[in-house]
């Protein structure tokens, strides 16, 4: 969180991009976009452009990383060199390693890992264009890719950040808000069980502000959950009127 008093983030009760305090940037998701991966999803969230892909369950290499009773969900978050204003040097850095770990843990919570002992479910997140909120976007896209890959899971994880700018709690920080705001709270949320599976915070919040920020983020996650579901429906719902065809689809 930076603290540049000269950067104006709120004007006439609205944010600089015209959003209300509790308004999301525009989000679109498309499921099943890659050929080789077992499942995939492409997400645009404001100016973020993110691809997620899933391979597996497949044999875990190296072997010593295998778990005898469950699958390991292994996410790899990566930013393309050209995704940010200053070229990002290829390869993992401390930030991407940490995000990969948190995303792996968040996703593992909803995957029925015990169904595939000793295997790995690889989740690849590639940020093609970054504009604040890529870990939330990546986690959101990855959930859709997991479902697209037919992975057994209890729910889709939805993710969104809230934060504080000019003393005001707001939802889904944009780039300047992220850079010059006072707090950032990325949240991963499992709607069906009402659980938080990702939570980070940096900056400065009172207890009341924390609660307000969380309420906002959770409400937004529910909305994002709807967008995720719609993306999967779009990909898989095709009307079948013929009874025979219907039976076949059901795997008779």
């Amino acid at each position: 969180m930076g603290s540049n008093k000269d950067i104006e983030l709120i004007e006439d009760g609205k944010r600089m991009d015209g959003r209300e305090f509790d308004e999301l940037r525009e989000i679109t998701i498309k499921a099943g976009v890659l050929k080789r991966a077992d499942g995939s999803a492409y997400l645009e969230w404001g100016k973020n452009k993110i691809m997620a892909a899933v391979y597996g369950p497949r044999e875990m290499h190296p072997r010593h990383a295998q778990e005898t009773r469950k699958a390991v969900v292994r996410a790899r978050y990566n930013m393309a060199a050209f995704s940010v204003p200053d070229r990002k040097r290829p390869g993992p850095d401390r930030r991407s390693i940490e995000i990969s770990k948190l995303v792996s843990e968040a996703l593992e919570k909803v995957v029925f890992t015990e169904k595939y002992p000793r295997s790995v479910i690889d989740v690849f997140i590639e940020v093609l264009q970054a504009s604040a909120g890529t870990r939330c976007g990546g986690l959101t896209a990855a959930s859709v890719a997991l479902a697209d890959a037919g992975i057994p899971m209890s729910d889709l994880v939805a993710s969104c950040a809230s934060g504080k700018i000019e003393g005001q709690v707001v939802l889904d920080l944009g780039k300047n808000e992220d850079n010059y705001g006072q707090a950032d709270v990325p949240v991963g949320y499992i709607p069906r069980s009402d659980d938080i599976c990702l939570l980070q915070m940096d900056g400065n919040l009172t207890e009341e502000e924390y609660e307000e920020a969380m309420d906002m983020a959770i409400e937004a996650c529910k909305e994002i959950h709807g967008i995720q579901r719609e993306a999967l429906r779009e990909r898989y719902s095709t009307e079948l009127k013929d009874e025979n065809e219907k039976d076949l689809a059901e795997g008779v």
């Binding site: 050929k35 452009k49 391979y55 995704s83 200053d86 590639e126």
Partner: protein, 267 residues
């Protein structure tokens, strides 16, 4: 993890090729659908996404100000990298670029460099002190064969889409951003040899049974600016000449597509 193609499937593919047929019904020297989109990545100075059938490649360029190489004090610096990330294929692994990614980057780089696509002397800010560094990054998202052409086409389109961010640097000599000076339009055509048959734009299965590969990069005057024979098989001399002849028409069509998409006139 290496994928295995069964022997009988290989035999079928060989028989098919021998009969002059391809798995997807194409002619021997026909591309799959090519889709080029330039300028999709905002933070990049220039960008292009190329879909060649189901092969999907993003290319982005970034520019920075730095020091020239001592032996070329009046030239900007050009550097090309490729990442074959594990998203793109079950056979790719995480980690620093391996030999395939390095070969890909270098072949594409050679086309740009030797084809004098970019006027690097224009990228000199202060002789021996300050020049533009141009980074070209190739990011493969889906691998279904023929990365060489997808990447080569993507790089050309991305370069033509590139705007030099002079206004962001105090010491860039010029105050306003300007289009990257482009002198030539170089595109590759990659041929694959399977037994005695030569074909263009191999898709994945064809690539798996390929004996040899030949990439020919041509400029708009049909001059050859870079070539690369890859894989363990060989070409006879006559076939290489044949490939170059074919490449002329093929590359000129590709070049038109790139120019049409980028829509840049000052070349």
């Amino acid at each position: 993890m290496k994928e295995i193609l069964s022997k009988i499937t290989k035999d079928y593919l060989y028989r098919l090729v021998k009969e002059g047929k391809r798995v997807d019904g194409r002619n021997m020297f026909e591309y799959r659908d090519i889709e080029i989109k330039a300028g999709e990545i905002e933070p990049a100075e220039g960008s292009a996404r190329v879909r060649l059938g189901d092969t999907d490649v993003y290319v982005g360029t970034k520019m920075d100000v730095g020091e020239p190489f001592p032996d070329t004090p009046e030239s900007g610096v050009l550097t090309t990298s490729a990442e074959l990330i594990p998203m793109a294929s079950p056979e790719y692994e995480s980690g620093p670029p391996g030999e395939d990614a390095t070969e890909l980057a270098r072949v594409v780089d050679r086309g740009v460099r030797e084809g004098e696509v970019v006027d690097t002397s224009e990228l000199c800010i202060e002789e021996g002190e300050k020049v533009w560094i141009l980074f070209i990054d190739i990011h493969v998202l889906d691998y279904d064969g023929n990365l060489f052409d997808a990447a080569g086409i993507g790089v050309m389109a991305a370069l033509m889409d590139t705007v030099v961010p002079a206004s962001k640097f105090d010491d860039a000599k010029k105050e306003e951003d300007y289009p990257l000076p482009i002198d030539h339009v170089v595109v590759p055509a990659t041929f694959t040899k399977i037994k005695d048959q030569i074909l263009l734009d191999s898709q994945l299965e064809e690539e798996k049974i390929a004996d040899a590969r030949l990439t020919v990069s041509l400029n708009e005057n049909d001059e050859i600016v870079a070539m690369q024979k890859g894989l363990r098989g060989v070409f006879d001399y006559e076939s290489t000449k044949e490939c170059i002849k074919k490449a002329k028409d093929i590359c000129s069509e590709t070049r038109e597509k790139v120019i049409e998409e980028v829509g840049r006139e000052n070349i």
